[in-house]
Structure formats: structure tokens, C-alpha cells
């Protein structure tokens, strides 16, 4: 092995000079510690910084060639995104008797699932139609969150994202509820 003889040249007189065998073992504990620390660091940084893409499709604005089909109101759930991380939702058409419900993001999942089930039961397994209306009070996070909720609740029909046609009645309601 490649080692230097560090013994001080000859022990007792007359005897053969025997090189001292130094212990070749090195304590690797610290090295292993360091290596694992670095491994952990690289593992965490590589997997966590990988961003995720959420695909969004919006209706074409200028395209009038496709015939617009009217959707059944009773099967439509509209979610309005307001400020202070609040949402308001209603089924069908909003009116005095069918006022939107104001909820937080924590509760909206339950409502979506509820309505999904109701629609499926009433129509014999038809999918609910979702309309998402982000208003000017909403943040970008709210929008991502609601799209995420739709993915979690497994809404299969493509949600309509409508930030143009927010009805006056909706605006009025949201102002009253203090979320616009």
C-alpha cells in the first residue's frame, strides 16, 4: 500500500529494521455524514423545485362559428370568486329565492360534491356543468385553487371560465355580501 514509513528508523540495535505497520483504517463516519447530507439536499431540491403545469382552456372569444348550445340551468353550478378568499355559488339562475351561498374555500369542496351528486341523482347520472366567474376582487391564487378543487372533485366536463359576463344581479349580491 502506498504509505510512508514514518517510524523513526530502527528500533533496537542489531536487530533487523522493521517498518512499523501503520493502521490503514480511516474513520469514514464524518465523510459519510457529509455525503448523506449533500444527497438529502440534492434530492429535496431536485424534486421540490419541479413545477407542475395546470392546463387551462378558455373559450375562444372571436369564434362564433360553433353553434352555442344552451345548457340546462338546473344542472349548472356557478361559482363566483370574490375578495377575502370567499366564493359565492348558486345553482341555475340567481333570484331572490335562489340566492347565492357565500362560502370559504375550505367548504366549497363539500358543496361541489353535494351538487354533483344531486345533479347526477336527478338526471340519471349526468355530469354537472361548472361555470367559474372570477371577479376583480379575486386573486390569482383563488383561481388556481378553484380549478384545483374541480380536479379534486373529479368534475369531468370542462369548466367554463367566464370573466367577461358577470351579471348585474351577481355583482349586486356580491357587493351586499361584501366580497366584491
Amino acid at each position: 500500500m502506498a504509505e510512508l514509513d514514518t517510524s523513526g528508523g530502527g528500533g533496537k540495535k542489531g536487530k533487523k529494521v522493521r517498518s512499523k505497520k501503520a493502521n490503514t483504517k480511516v474513520d469514514l463516519t464524518a465523510m459519510v455524514d457529509l455525503a448523506f447530507l449533500l444527497i438529502t439536499f440534492f434530492m429535496l431540491t431536485t424534486s421540490l423545485s419541479k413545477p407542475i403545469a395546470m392546463d387551462i382552456a378558455k373559450p375562444d372569444k372571436d369564434d362564433n362559428s360553433v353553434e352555442r348550445l344552451a345548457v340546462r340551468e338546473s344542472e349548472t353550478m356557478t361559482i363566483l370568486l370574490g375578495k377575502n378568499n370567499k366564493v359565492a355559488w348558486y345553482m341555475g339562475i340567481p333570484s331572490a329565492s335562489n340566492a347565492p351561498t357565500v362560502e370559504s374555500f375550505a367548504d366549497i369542496r363539500k358543496s361541489i360534491l353535494n351538487n354533483k351528486k344531486k345533479v347526477a341523482d336527478a338526471t340519471g347520472g349526468r355530469q354537472i356543468i361548472m361555470v367559474i366567474k372570477p371577479t376583480s376582487g379575486a386573486t390569482y391564487k383563488n383561481f388556481v385553487d378553484i380549478m384545483d378543487e374541480l380536479a379534486i372533485t373529479k368534475i369531468k366536463t370542462a369548466p367554463a371560465i367566464d370573466d367577461e359576463n358577470i351579471l348585474d344581479s351577481e355583482k349586486d349580491f356580491m357587493k351586499q355580501a361584501g366580497i366584491l
Binding site: L38, I56, A138, V144, I152
Partner: protein
């Protein structure tokens, strides 16, 4: 009765194999890790439970935050080709050196007028300059952002013969109208499908 002697064993273990393995893994992770360009615009992206990974090729990434827009084109060849096209459009001549330097720039957010100056700066100055530059102008009168997107899309189509994917990296607390403004620009170019970049969230309960 003689006492049973407990034999003392050495507590040191041979670490060589463990050391080998750990360094092998370390080397692997270092080599596979891709250096991430620092984002000039401080953006906290919202999280989602989506599982689709962002592709690494043929992408344009729009960062939106603090009312500013930064644009990042992925791929050196695409960047250089886009710069040529933009130069033509705004009649600014870029030297080969400037093209080369622009090819390795990450996200940028300066008006095209000061782009030449911006390219020749070094890293630190660039960051400072961008803080005051105010992003890429995207008003209806001076819509340079739309032009950048259009030219990079053309470049991707020419060089790689695929469609460019447009991704939006928005700050979580950005107001929705600011995002809508950018989306409207995209929709004007008939980009109705785009991806929102989010960070991974643990499985939803």
C-alpha cells in the same frame, strides 16, 4: 463458578462500502440536477394537486407579479431567433455578441428600447436594472409583450416545427384582473389553451 465473560466487541464498523454508495448517489444527483436560473421577479406560485410536469422544451413562461410581466423563452436557439425577429420589427440591430449573450439570459422584463443596454450588463447590475425597468410593456398602445410572444411562437414553429406552449407563472397574491389582462393578450393571438405553473401540493385529503 467462573464468571461469564462478556466479550467486548469493537464498535467501529467498516464504513467504506457505505461511503462508496453515498458518494455514488451524490454524484448522480449532482449530475442530474439542473441549475435553475434565478427568477428576477419574486413570484410565489400557488400550489395545486395537479400531477402534470412542466415540459422543458418549446416553452414560453410569463411571470406575473407586482403588476409587472417578465418573459422567459426556453431554448437558446429560440431565444436568438426571437431576438432577431424582434430586432427586425423594432429596427434595432443586435450584434452577434449580443445575440450570444441574450441566448443565455433567463427571464427578462425590460422594454425593447433598453434591451441592448440590458444585455451587455453583468448579473448583478441586470437584477438592479430590472427592478426599475417595470417589466415588458403590455399596454394596448405599446404591446411589446404580444410581439415577443408572437415572435417566439413563430421561432418555435420554424425551428422545431411544433407549437409553443405558453405557461403563466403568477404570484399567488396577484389580483385576478392583472392575470386576465395577460390572458386577454394570449387570447387575441388565439392561444386559448395555456398552462398555469403551480408547485406540487401533498395529496389532498
Amino acid at each position: 463458578m467462573p464468571r461469564a465473560k462478556v466479550q467486548r466487541k469493537s464498535t467501529s464498523i467498516d464504513m467504506t462500502a457505505m461511503c462508496d454508495v453515498s458518494f455514488l448517489l451524490l454524484t448522480f444527483f449532482i449530475l442530474t440536477a439542473t441549475a435553475r436560473q434565478p427568477d428576477p421577479l419574486d413570484v410565489t406560485i400557488p400550489s395545486s394537486t395537479y400531477k402534470l410536469k412542466v415540459p422543458d422544451l418549446d416553452m414560453g413562461i410569463l411571470s406575473i407579479g407586482k403588476g409587472q410581466v417578465f418573459y422567459e423563452i426556453v431554448g437558446k436557439d429560440i431565444k436568438m431567433s426571437t431576438l432577431d425577429k424582434m430586432g427586425e420589427k423594432y429596427s434595432i440591430k443586435f450584434t452577434p455578441e449580443e445575440r450570444e449573450r441574450f441566448g443565455v439570459i433567463g427571464a427578462f422584463g425590460v422594454p425593447i428600447g433598453s434591451l441592448k443596454q440590458f444585455i451587455m450588463m453583468d448579473g448583478e447590475k441586470r437584477t438592479k436594472f430590472q427592478e426599475t425597468a417595470g417589466g415588458i410593456p403590455a399596454d394596448s398602445t405599446n404591446n411589446q409583450l404580444a410581439e415577443w410572444i408572437l415572435q417566439s411562437r413563430t421561432s418555435v414553429a420554424e425551428l422545431h416545427s411544433t407549437q409553443m406552449r405558453v405557461s403563466i407563472k403568477g404570484d399567488a397574491n396577484e389580483e385576478y384582473p392583472a392575470v386576465k389582462k395577460i390572458v386577454d393578450i394570449l387570447q387575441k393571438q388565439k392561444i386559448n389553451k395555456f398552462s398555469l405553473i403551480t408547485s406540487a401540493e401533498g395529496g389532498a385529503e
